[in-house]
Amino acid sequence: MNALPDTPDFEHALRIAEALIFASDRPVKPERLQMALPMGCDAPAVLTALQARSAGRPVELVEIAGGFAFRTALELAPAITRVVEVPRRLPRVAMETLAIIAYHQPVTRPEIEEIRGAAVAQPTIDALLEMSLVTTRGRKEAPGRPSLWVTTPRFLEQFGLKSLADLPRREELVSNDAALPLIPPAPEPFALV
């Protein structure tokens, strides 16, 4: 027996869902919500209904990092940032390192440096660690047993991603970019193609 939309049971389930997700500082997984709902209420159905209702409100329900969380509407950001302290941006090097970890995880630091063609300074790793965007998971069975770096659920939250599959595919990263027009190379005497 399922509680159907617009029945008192379903409305009660919606109230529970809203309160639970609102109170939580991390995205709430459907399984966690299910534990809080009365018997016969389907968490995914409740979440879908709640998402529909919150659309257009100042605080919206979004799916993120494998769960659901309330987030302020984008257009309100300028007003809010006037009084809320906004963390400073990550430097370019840190963003690149983060991107490499995101796409190549699990990846060792020497491998990151190989891809960047330059050393990764400790402050860069520190900055990413401090924001809990990356972490290590085990070590690579290679000389020196270097640590393997991966992104965290917090990374998904930071960039509003449902999962790592939300990252653009690698092929899309270059070909869709207008800044790098695909002009055929000029004929060169020793052109290598």
Binding site: F22, S24, D25, T81, A99, R116, A118, A119
Partner: protein, 245 residues
């Protein structure tokens, strides 16, 4: 050619930028043109010291690559220059992709910048603290800690030991000596009932010192006929005469 070197982290960065300034698809880039431009940059710019080593390796590698490409082909078992150039192109392409990924990430709606989460989350847990964490290692550690502390805190008290002193020996010697008529073995003057060997040794040593002291004052005579033989003592003649008088 004008380059702002401050933004660069390493040779690959520079190569990538050179590649871009050629306005070409990196995957189809002319390595030779790249090498030429790179060498130009190396000659024209002040290179930051910490990058110099990296750059030198890259420069050497590129120079070698260029020489391989310029020289007529030889049959050699090594990787050919085209493969190496291809690998460089792949690396540049991957760096370029990661640059774009970073750019894409930077353009995403970011938590705490364009959208905000709950600032003051509520506590959604009630803690049931009826159970205890206690494992054997913790128990053993606790025992060792307690004992070490107790041992360290206790002041050092040597075992109380009643040893026969020289003064005791002197008193006993003076008391008993008069009763013995002639030469008597020193041990005969020691108290009886000394249980431990240590106490017996101490008593013997005290007895000897007391006898020597008494002999020095002229109170008694000592003799030992052979080395390690029994020590014999008796009242000195003067004392015997005094007593007799």
């Amino acid at each position: 050619m004008k380059l702002d070197l401050d933004g660069f982290e390493g040779p690959l960065d520079l190569l990538l930028d050179l590649a871009r300034s050629q306005k070409v698809d990196i995957r189809r880039i002319s390595i030779v043109a790249l090498v030429d431009q790179y060498v130009l940059v190396l000659e024209a710019q002040d290179i930051r010291l910490e990058l110099a080593a990296d750059w030198l390796v890259m420069a050497a590698w590129l120079t070698w690559l260029k020489s391989r490409l310029l020289l007529p082909e030889e049959s050699e078992p090594e990787e050919d220059a085209e493969t190496l150039a291809g690998r460089l192109t792949d690396r540049l392409a991957e760096l370029d992709r990661m640059r774009h990924a970073a750019f894409w990430l930077g353009g995403q709606v970011q938590l705490g910048r364009e959208s905000f989460g709950r600032g003051a989350p509520e506590i959604l847990r009630l803690e049931d603290r009826s159970g205890i964490v206690a494992d054997l290692p913790a128990l053993l550690r606790a025992y060792a800690t307690a004992r070490r502390r107790a041992t360290a805190a206790a002041p050092y008290t040597p075992k109380p030991r009643r040893l026969y002193s020289v003064a005791d020996a002197l008193a006993r010697l003076r008391l008993l000596l008069g009763r013995a008529p002639g030469w008597t073995v020193l041990q005969g003057f020691l108290p009886e009932g000394l249980a431990s060997p240590l106490e017996r040794r101490a008593a013997l040593a005290s007895g000897l010192v007391a006898a020597l002291e008494e002999a020095r004052g002229g109170g008694l005579d000592i003799r030992q006929d052979v080395a390690f033989g029994p020590l014999l003592i008796r009242l000195s003649r003067e004392v015997r005469h005094e007593r007799a008088a």
